[in-house]
């Protein structure tokens, strides 16, 4: 009973914190909304990056794809998109409350599904890449997605799209998006908890430890990788759609496909918290976001320097992340008697099989 309580307490705490936050600090609702989106970023990245050892740098592409799909659906249901974007928002289109919510609902679902389909097609292309090439390849995909959207006149190109405006009061609007982002992140969190505990989690970790062997054991690695990525893409797509509506104005390079900011931040947040764990991304994202917001106020002008320094320090000196560090320090609390997992996480050759490394080194020397 006692252990049971102790086990459920953090989860309950997370829920209560999430529900209470907008009521305790109503003026900060927008900040908390962004925080939940950040947690979602870190959690989705961890599915492949942490659990399977596939370090993608391009997950932000799903965020942007979802954002644009949702925008096109929201406008397209009631208006000609090309006409709307051609004037760069110079036409005024009134959306009734009914139209707004219908458009948003359809848009959110379409965004999730669209991003998922995109991820499956993309996965089929890039999953053959290993180690650094997977990271660089996905980075390339995200960058090209942004550039292509910028050159596509139908969606407004670099001029972007002004999204329909929320019909209610501004405070309701903040709360509305807060509830949506919070619910989405919590659903993702418990979904991940459930699948990590099951067969999926084991297979994912097997892929991370040695993909060839996992395949040899009869695990359909491709299927697991695709499913993992599809889950990440689905949630990222919806979060992109929500985020776009929260900002109210979207454009390709900075809002929809911010590859070198959000795209890399999600990785940093994961590493900071401890990757390959359920709670690591949550803690990492919370601390990272807070650090960012605080320095933005008190270190104006130097905030980016501080952020860069934080990334360097956390990556270089704090390899295993916060949760990893706790696990290493008190392994018995996690029911681990002797476990090599913590060791494996810091294993330098994780991304490359020894034979590969050898081949690379010989190549380099020629």
């Amino acid at each position: 009973m006692n252990t049971r309580l102790r086990r459920t307490l953090p989860y309950a705490g997370l829920l209560i914190a999430g529900i209470a936050a907008p009521f305790l600090f109503p003026d900060y609702t927008f900040q908390f909304t962004v925080l939940w989106v950040m947690i979602l970023f870190a959690l989705t990245w961890d599915i492949l990056g942490g659990q399977m050892g596939y370090n993608s740098l391009g997950n932000i592409a799903f965020f942007g794809v979802g954002m644009y799909i949702c925008a096109v659906v929201q406008i397209g249901l009631y208006y000609d998109v090309a006409q709307y974007t051609a004037s760069y928002g110079a036409v005024k289109v009134e959306f009734t409350a009914d139209q707004y919510f219908t458009g948003l609902a359809v848009g959110l679902i379409a965004a999730g599904l669209g991003a998922m389909v995109f991820s499956i097609i993309l996965g089929w292309v890039v999953f053959g890449l290993r180690g650094p090439y997977f990271a660089i390849g996905t980075l390339g995909v995200a960058l090209s997605a942004g550039e292509l959207t910028g050159a596509w006149d139908y969606v407004g190109g670099g001029g972007g799209i002004a999204l329909p405006i929320y019909p209610g009061e501004p405070d309701d609007r903040s709360l509305f998006f807060y509830v949506l982002s919070f619910t989405l992140t919590i659903i993702l969190f418990f979904l991940l908890r459930w699948i990590y505990l099951g067969r999926f989690g084991l297979a994912a970790n097997a892929i991370r430890d040695d993909e060839e062997k996992a395949e040899g054991m009869g695990i359909h690695t491709m299927r697991y990788k695709t499913v993992g990525w599809a889950i990440a893409a689905f949630f990222l797509g919806i979060s992109g759609a929500l985020f776009g509506n929260m900002i109210g104005f979207i454009e390709p390079l900075e809002v929809a496909f911010p590859t070198v900011t959000f795209g890399l931040f999600m990785v940093v947040m994961c590493l900071l918290g401890g990757r390959g764990t359920l709670w690591g991304p949550v803690i990492g994202a919370t601390l990272f976001h807070t650090f960012k917001e605080v320095t933005w106020i008190y270190l104006l002008g130097w905030q980016w320097v501080a952020l860069g320094a934080l990334i360097v320090v956390s990556v270089v000196f704090f390899q295993q992340g916060i949760v990893g560090w706790v696990k290493e320090k008190w392994p018995e609390k996690f029911g681990i008697a002797v476990d090599d997992r913590a060791l494996a996480e810091t294993d330098p050759d994780l991304d490359e099989a020894p034979s590969q490394r050898l081949r690379r080194q010989t190549e380099a020397a020629q």
Partner: protein, 415 residues
Amino acid sequence: MSKHLKFLTALAFGVAAAGLVAAGPASAKVEGDTIIIGSAISFTGKYSTNGIHAKNGYDLGVKRVNEMGGVKVGGKVYKLKIKYYDDESTPLRTAQLAERLIKQDGIKYILGPYSSATTKAMAPITEKYKIPMVEAEGASRSLFTQGYKYIFAVLSTSEQYLASSIALAAEMAKKAGKKPSDVRVAMAFENDPFSLDVRAGVMDDIKKFGMKIVIDDKLPRDLADMSATLTKVKALKPDLLVISGHSKGAATAARQIKELKIDVPMIAITHCEAAKIVKLFGAATNDFLCPTQWAETLSYKGKYFGTAAEYDKLFKATYDGYRNVPYQAAQASAAVLVWKDAFERANSFDTEKLRQALSETNMKTFYGDIRFAPEGNNIAKPMVLRQIQDGKFNVVAPSKWASHKVNWPRTVPGM
């Protein structure tokens, strides 16, 4: 789940809550004898050159108003102060900062950000909270077609930026005995909301004259090279080349036009002053046409800074390193004056009364006349076109304001 992890989670959330709350020391709209105006502006990122020009303009405006007796509201004298945040030149950040200024800092009066993209992200939020914003740097006309009631812009809208250069090209064609519809235009615009808006204005005018577009390139944002576009220009020999890409675009264009010896009778570029191209490239920039919101040679005059020329002098004396005062700074100072004027006329801190007062603004300043259309844009001030003649910016169009004759076709010494 371990005790430590639980503790850790609790700690993380505690720190987060404390941090986020501490991140916004709540300051009221009016503190003691100080009126606090909020602004999110680009200190870093790609618009920061102009963001800092604008900030200098805001600061100079505030300094001047405070030196000259501050703002009188209800018989009491108040000082102005601006609370700044850095929007990193991205609309993503602007929307968050708008919420922060209004909700967390309790700011009730806003000065606009730099660039159309960020202003577009700001406007829906100020509108929702019914917080008036006087903005000086968002020229996109789409800002003024949405029925926004709380946005007031002291500058001319973007479609006017290069429109006068098209009219000028038509005029020159007529003078040379050609039809305006024979004029061939090459366009290179940065792929961002502002420049595309300028482009939309140019397109309208081109259509009006029936001119022919021979090149229509959109330059990438991280623009360091446009030689491919310029090579095309070289081959097609258009009669007019128009370029818009903020300061970076202007600097890149000027350098490569020089290095590729592009010989076009008329070249119009936005943001020449802000990019300091005369200082950087000297004679090679001769006869470029540069649209400007404001020029120190214009005969504007107002109470606070005197004439345009006096503002120019004061600005150069206050901030080092300016050879030409960019109009981005001048209009920022003007926006501060508009606020001051509105506070005194409303004689209140109530946002609704202030909005009313702002909409009735009718003032003469060093920056030109300021009178807002119901949509919020300034309709009392024209956009002028200057030409770089022997390193000096001389107004050449429209004819009402012209102090010099336009040089056409363009000549570059030593070419």
